[in-house]
Amino acid sequence: MDLSVVGQTLLLALTIAGLYAAIASGLTLEFGVMRIVNFAHGEFVMLGAFITYFLETRYGLNPLFGAAVSGVAMLTLSWLVYDTFLWRILREDEHNQILATLGLSILIVNLAMILWGPDARVMHAPDLLPPLRLGAITIPGNNTVIFIVGVLLVAGLVFFMKQTRYGLLLRLASDDATLAAYTGVNVNAMFRLSFIIGGFTAGVSGGLVALVLYVHPLVGTDLVIRAFAIVALGGLGSIGGSLIGAAILSAAESLVGTFVPGGGSWGYGIAFLLIVIVLAVRPLGLFGSEQRS
């Protein structure tokens, strides 16, 4: 097997991993703080992708600005979702939480189907960076962009959580909500903060999706399934772990896709078998730690 083919495959996979990690980091942040898995996270990504797509095709807006606008739009939408109903279900049993966010996901996907139809669209954006050439290996410019933005997003989140005052308060609220409330932390506001940050990252990731993938109503569902895989690998709640999980997943996916005959169609099936096995060995993921409930 040609070494440069392997290198090309792995490097391309690494850039896609940046996108995957960006999506997974928001999901894992929400879980880390609120202990809720947001099954509608992928739908926020999808809406972000459509916003960036329309801004670019109709108004010629640079996709990077488009991604920022999507981020703000999804931040607002998350805020709305949180204040209208999400805060109510945080005290319910987990199956009710799963069902409520699944309901939201069904609602948004089908709304998008009605508004924009099921067809896949392509945003013919110009390359934001020149292609990267390393010997026989070529990385398209937009892949470099999504890698950089994705990694910056994850790094920013880690910095925010570890180094800022609000990050500290978020961690306190998630570790022990009662204690946090007694020390004067507005726990509800902290939960909302984590949810709208999650929404923001979903919107920005959506912009990245529009840059390198097809845009269609089911794109979010497709991606969030992978994000589940990533957070399960990296450990639910571990933001840094999502980078490593994303790298493992996209490397596995693209290697299988390239070197196994017909393997392109089994992408995430293999990934999921991997997860079931990883979870069987390490029930909290590779980098997860025991959490208080």
């Binding site: 898995v37 319910e92 199956h95 069904i106 009605i114 079931v276 069987a280 993921g285």
Partner: protein, 321 residues
């Protein structure tokens, strides 16, 4: 309501409705009832599993395994072998998945089961030589393709599932199951066979989901992987059981009626893709308005606390000694 009537009411309702619809012989009602029965079996299967604290998002896996097992075994070995194979294969799959996910708690379990069902769909498409790939399979028709007898057969399956669910709610199993869910260490310490009970619930749940899938495959005699491994079959049982009322037999049954009826109404009024929006909205509204489901709501109205939540009762009853 008379005391003896309440437990047999679900059975009477199923038998009565089925008989009435079979006699009336209206195609629309027959199809609607078949749909309700299949989803009710799935919802009961999901509920049996959830009573041990295992919140599954993988019912579609067993549903699909059931369909594919009948479709692949029936032409080779005949109907009896095919149905036996469904039970055996689903039981084995349930044991394997159950053991693999035994230590997973909460969301990890949900994600692992979701992953299992999604990867099955992909694997089925990836090996077209055995499974027919994306082109699908042609299971033998159930009851010779006569809708009325199909309904009778599926109602029979629903009666079986109802009875199994009721048996799991008797004193023999109920306290053990709910104790595993709320405090599995305590359950183990008090001599409840935790692993065995969890796996048993998994096996029963898997078998019923598989049988439902086998029946579904036999309805039209043609099935593609996207039909049976669709994550709808994983979400719907969860929605129905929760909206109807978990930890009961009547809840999933009632939930199946209400949700399928609402779905059909929405489909008739709004049509196309739009009705799915309503479906999503209804789910959210129900979770917000009736977090304990329809049954929980009714119980609260009647204020009879005979089948309430297991957790507080365990605490009150056991601590005194």
């Amino acid at each position: 309501m008379k005391r003896w009537l309440a437990p047999v009411l679900p059975y009477l309702a199923i038998i009565g409705l089925t008989a009435g619809i079979v006699i009336a012989d209206r195609p629309f009602w027959i199809q609607l009832m078949i749909g309700i029965c299949i989803t009710a079996v799935l919802a009961l299967a999901w509920d049996m599993l959830s009573r041990t604290g295992q919140v599954s998002l993988g019912m579609a896996a067993f549903f699909g395994i059931g369909t594919y097992t009948t479709a692949l075994v029936d032409p080779v070995a005949g109907a009896v072998a095919a149905w036996t194979a469904v039970v055996l294969v689903c039981a084995v799959a349930a044991i394997l998945l159950g053991l693999l996910t035994l230590r997973l708690r909460h969301m990890y379990f949900a994600i692992a089961t979701l992953g299992f069902s999604l990867s099955l769909q992909v694997l089925v498409t990836a090996f077209p030589d055995i499974t027919g790939g994306a082109g699908g399979v042609a299971p033998a028709l159930l009851a010779g393709g006569e809708p009325r007898w199909q309904l009778v057969a599926i109602s029979g399956l629903l009666l079986l599932a109802t009875a199994t669910s009721d048996i799991l709610l008797t004193r023999r199993f109920r306290p053990a199951f709910f104790m595993i869910r709320s405090k599995s260490e305590l359950a183990a310490a008090s001599g409840v066979p935790v692993v065995r009970s969890k796996i048993m619930a998994f096996i029963l749940s898997g078998i019923y989901a598989g049988l439902a899938g086998a029946c579904y495959g036999g309805l039209y005699g043609y099935v593609v992987p996207g039909d049976v491994f669709n994550s709808n079959w994983s979400i719907m049982p969860l929605a129905i059981a929760i909206l109807g009322g978990m930890d009961t037999t009547a809840g999933p049954l009632l939930g199946a009626f209400v949700l399928r009826a609402l779905e059909e109404l929405a489909r008739a009024w709004i049509g196309g893709i739009g009705y799915q929006v309503v479906y999503g909205a209804v789910i959210i509204a129900f979770v917000l308005a009736l977090p304990r489901g329809l049954i929980g709501f009714v119980t609260k109205l009647v204020r009879r606390d005979t089948k309430g939540d297991a957790h507080p009762r365990l605490q009150e009853g056991r601590v005194k000694s």
